[in-house]
Every structure is written in C-alpha cells, then in structure tokens.
C-alpha cells in the first residue's frame, strides 16, 4: 500500500515538472520575426538617424526611433475556428529588442489564415494594466486626459521641412481621443492586420514585415509639413494613421 502511495507521489512529482500540454498535444512552437523595410529596402540599426528616405509626399526624412506593439495574434482554420495567442509584444526595432517573439502558446498542425491586432483594441487597452509597459524604458502610457491606455507605435525622426530646416516629426499612434480633458471620449483606432494563409506542419518561424514607407502613402499621402507632431491630440490624424496602417504589414518568409 505504502509502495503504491509512493509510486503515486513519484509520478505526480515527475509530471509536475512537465508542461502537461506538451505531453497530450502534438503542438508546434511559433516564432514571429518582425522586420522593417522602406519599400523593400531593409532597415537595420546603422540606418537609423543616417539613411535618408523620401516619403510619398517627396519629403526627405530619417528615422530615430521605431517602437511598436502588436497583440492577439490569431490563427483561423478553414472552419472559422480561432486560436488566439492572447497577449502583446512590444518591440524596439532599432535595437532589436523583442523583434523575435516566441509566445508559449502552441499551434496544432493545419492550414490557417494569420492575423493580429496593431496596438491594443479597446478591450485590451486598459489604462495602467500592464506593469511592463508602465516601466522604463518604454514610455508607453497615454495621459488620462487623452483617454489613457497605451501607445501603439512611436515612430520618430527628423525631416527637411519646406524651408530645408531639419525638423522633428513624432508619428505616434494611439487610440483616437475625440474629446479630451476630464471626461475624455475615445475611438478605437487599433486595427486588425490580415497576413494571409500559413500552413503549420512543424515548429515554424514566421516573418512579419513592416514597410515603413506605407505609413506615409495610402490612402492618405502624408504631409509632414502639416502633420509632424502633436498627433496624439489630433483624432483626425489618428484615423489617418489607422487607415494608412492597413497596408503596412505583410507576410515574409515562413519556414
């Protein structure tokens, strides 16, 4: 009897070490690699602050900072059943911080369409809810007066304005604040990005590309001379950012 009990304890102890999921489900690990390019030309660390890009409006600009957040990566199968990787990934593209995202949630074999949310949708964009995002170095919070919550992206740099002067731009994406002040009203300007089909038969690495030029291209040809800063307090600018963002991301190599 004692022996049986001990065997039982032994077995429990053994299994407590293991992720039970792993034993029961033949699931695969996903690695998401976030890369950035300017119309196909890869943007790497040495390009920041130095490489001059020309945007759709003809303005010459450099990039100093490109930090962004995505959430709820979703795999949808043919029957419309979804597997959501709940949670977010915040990254610093310049320094390569978190540009590789390996969530613990695993995905079963199958054919899917892949999507994610750029930023946080209203359900997840809860003021003060994420200690990591409140903490240095991210500077990710949005003031209460603007409806609180978090930034979706901080794209910052310099451009030559129409007098040729080097001028800062701060292309910050947040949830639009339609009414500011003590009782702010907001509008969800996060958006869903559809990346198309992926087939999972093994542990898989998925590249998610951002074409930074697209933020300035369509449907709104961005005019930095008119819209370079204070965009967080400009609901119309947030709607335009949200609209332009829809063509920014695409699926890269899947292997």
């Amino acid at each position: 009897m004692k022996k049986v009990l001990l065997l039982f304890v032994l077995t429990v102890t053994l299994f407590a070490c293991k992720d039970v999921d792993e034993i029961i489900n033949p699931n695969y690990n996903m690695t998401f690699n976030f890369t950035q390019n300017w119309d196909g030309e890869e943007i790497t660390n040495p390009d920041y602050q130095t490489t001059v890009y020309t945007n759709a409006n003809g303005e010459e600009m450099t990039i100093s900072k490109l930090n962004y957040l995505i959430s709820d990566i979703t795999f949808t199968d043919k029957d419309g059943d979804v597997t959501v990787i709940e949670g977010y990934n915040i990254m610093n593209a310049r320094d390569g911080v978190n540009t590789q995202y390996t969530p613990s949630r695993k995905i079963s074999e199958g054919e899917y369409t892949l999507s994610f949310t750029f930023g946080f949708d209203d359900e997840d964009n809860i003021d003060d809810a994420y200690t990591e995002l409140n903490s240095p170095p991210w500077g990710w919070g949005v003031p209460d007066e603007l409806g609180g919550g978090y930034h979706f992206m901080r794209l910052e740099g310099m451009f030559a304005d129409n007098t040729g002067t080097q001028t800062p731009y701060l292309y910050h994406a947040i949830r639009a604040a339609i009414v500011m002040g003590e009782n702010p009203e907001t509008e969800d300007t996060s958006f869903k990005v559809d990346l198309g089909a992926v087939t999972i038969t093994q542990d898989t690495s998925i590249e998610i590309k951002m074409n930074v030029a697209e933020w300035f291209k369509n449907p709104h040809q961005w005019n930095l001379n008119e819209l370079s800063s204070n965009l967080m307090m400009n609901a119309e600018a947030q709607r335009m950012i949200s609209a332009n963002g829809k063509s920014v991301f695409s699926l890269g190599t899947v292997e």
Binding site: S64, S135, G141, P168
Partner: protein, 363 residues
C-alpha cells in the same frame, strides 16, 4: 522486510531528487558554514508594486540586514578614500537627495570633475542597469567599485582600501556577519554598498500621497500636471514618465537640446557611436527640491532656469531628440502661468520623508 525498507528509501530519495530538480531557482549555498545572514526583503512601495515591474536584485547579492547595515557604514565612512577624508556621502548627501548642491564635487585632491553628482534613490528599479550620466556602469555593484579608485574622487587603490578596512577593530567582524567571512575584498565592499543603495527608496511625495488617495493636489499642481502631459505645452511625459510610472524617468539617453557643440560626448563617449554624442540619461524628477543644480553639468541653478530652457532655450544639434519638437522656435513657449504651475507640479514630486528618513542618516 529488508527489501521493503530499501525500496521505500529509494523512492523517497527519488522523490526528493525530483522535487529539488524542479526548483531551478534555488540558490546553491556558497559556503555551507552553517551561518546565514538575516534575509531582508526590500520594502516595495504599494504604488510601485501596482504599477511597475519588480526591482532588480542580483542572484548573487541578496539583501540582508547585516549587508545593508555594513553598506550604510561604508557609505558614510571616509576610510575608503586615499587620505581618509571623503566618504561616498561627501558627494551624496542625504539632505540633498543624496546628491551634491555644488555644481562639481571636489575629490580628495581638491580637483573637480566635470559632471554634477547624481541623486541616489529608487536605483533598484533601473531595469537597464545603466548607471552614471552616460550609463557606463552596468550594475550597482560594479558602480560602487569606481569612485574609490577614481583619481579625482576618492583617489585610493583597492588593495589599500581593503587593508585599511581589514586593520580596523570592527570591520572584519561586520563582514563576517554580512558575508560569512572576515576576509575583506573589493567585491564584498561593493556588494554591501549596493545593498544599502537599493534600500534608498523614495515614494512619499505629495504626488504619491495624491496617488494613494490621501490628499488632493492644489489647482496649480493639477494644472502643472496637465502642462507636463499636454503635447501642445510641456510634453515632458514621453521621457520623464507619467503617474503610471512613479520613477519619473525612462532611464534612457537623450539629447534635450542643451548645446550646439558638446564639451562632453556623454553616452557617445561610452559607445563610440556618433549618433549618441551629447546624449545623457534622463534624470528622475523626484526630489528636485533638494537636488539643485540641474543637468549633467549642473548648469542650471534653479527649476525656473530648467523650465525656461524647455520653453525658449533649446538649441539644435545633429543628435537632438525629435521630442524636442519645437527646437525651431527655441522651445514650447509656455505662458508664465503654465511655467509656474509646471514648477508647482514638479515640486509635488519631492519627498521630505525620504531625505529625513532616519534609516538613511549617518550612523
């Protein structure tokens, strides 16, 4: 019967083995001499606990009562300096927010450096562990090794500092209590000092009391916070944090538009990257009431001068941070009222109970 027993013992042993192998984080006891200093958990303020990530405490230097007490004694003791005249506290004075009211603090030979002393508080929450204005030091332990041998600060050698400590009547025993050995070395000195510095926590300013729902802010302080957060006015929060980040810094490096030409390359001198020339670590805005003068070189004596800098004193240089967006007009052009309110808000982040905390005074 005999076999039964061996089996049982075998199974028990197996279980124990498995249980221990599960507990990966268990620290291996360095020297198992039976003596263990008394663990001391950091007193994490509720507003930090709720809002930000936990503090950084290295695995190999846990906080202990004896370690902190020793670190405190060392911090205030001039014995570490070459001529026994200058303690850490000589340039990091409790009443001055553990910084120095002098623009540059002379070392034991009367030579001044070119940077203003830095205040010391909430440093366990510096997640990137970049210490000094330029972030050249990568941990508090590593940092504590440097002033002792810096020729313009305490100008000593470590062998000399260690033998002075070893020759005293009390230090060997205090090291033994803190670390289980009477043999002093620079690593143990730095560990003890780092433990003490981690206890220097400031979280009881008027603004903290407001966050905890204990008091109301004045109208001026409230408006000042709005100026601080308003993109069209101060827009300070992108670097210095907001009420959800009670550290009031991003601990990152920026050029905030002080100079056209740099005498001091700051972060760039450490990394060698020209894109980082003239960048310095964002200081916390806590305890400004006690930490004048301001900026890495202590160029501004008053907060009014600091505010005027952001309002109309910005100058362009190639590495200027884009957040200094109004550099073309010299700054964000605050009204006199907004300036006064911004100042009132900044001062609401000062914590009198921190500078007067008896635990942090000279023993």
């Amino acid at each position: 019967m005999f076999f039964r027993k061996t089996y049982i013992i075998f199974y028990v042993a197996c279980c124990c083995f498995l249980i221990t192998s599960c507990a990966k984080d268990e620290k291996d006891n360095l020297e198992d001499e039976g003596y263990e200093p008394t663990p001391l958990s950091l007193d994490i303020p509720s507003i930090f606990e709720e809002r930000i990530s936990p503090p950084v405490i290295p695995q190999d230097n846990p906080q202990t009562e004896e370690g902190v007490a020793l670190g405190k004694k060392l911090f205030f003791d001039p014995i570490l300096s070459g001529d026994n005249t200058l303690a850490c506290a000589g340039c990091h004075k409790p009443a001055e927010g553990f910084s120095d009211a002098r623009q540059f603090s002379p070392g034991i030979d009367g030579i001044e450096g070119s940077r203003n002393s830095m205040p010391l508080f909430n440093l366990a929450w510096n997640y990137q562990e970049n210490f000094f204005w330029d972030g050249r030091s990568s941990s508090l332990e590593n940092q504590a090794l440097q002033p002792v041998i810096d020729p313009i600060e305490m100008h000593n050698t470590w062998p000399n500092a260690v033998s002075s400590l070893q020759a005293t009547s009390d230090y060997p025993e205090l090291f033994s209590k803190a670390f289980g050995t009477e043999t002093i070395d620079s690593t143990l000195v730095s560990k003890a000092i780092a433990q003490f510095i981690r206890t220097l926590i400031s979280s009881n300013s008027r603004f903290d009391q407001f966050l905890r729902g204990e008091i109301e802010l004045t109208e001026s302080e409230r408006n000042g916070l709005q100026v601080f957060e308003d993109e069209n006015r101060g827009d300070c929060f992108h670097c210095h944090g907001d009420p959800n980040n009670p550290l009031w810094t991003d601990n990152d490096f920026h050029n905030n538009g002080l100079d056209e030409i740099f005498d001091d390359l700051g972060r760039g001198a450490v990394t060698g990257d020209p894109r980082e020339f003239g960048l310095f670590k964002t200081p916390s805005l806590r305890n400004l009431a006690y930490t004048a003068p301001y900026m890495h070189d202590g160029r501004f004596e008053t907060l009014d001068e600091v505010i005027d800098h952001y309002s109309e004193g910005l100058v362009y240089s190639e590495t200027i941070d884009p957040l200094m967006k109004a550099v073309g007009e010299g700054g964000v052009q605050l009204s006199e009222k907004d300036k006064a309110d911004l100042k009132a808000f900044l001062l609401s982040l000062s914590d009198e109970s921190f500078i007067n905390n008896q635990d942090f005074q000279k023993p």
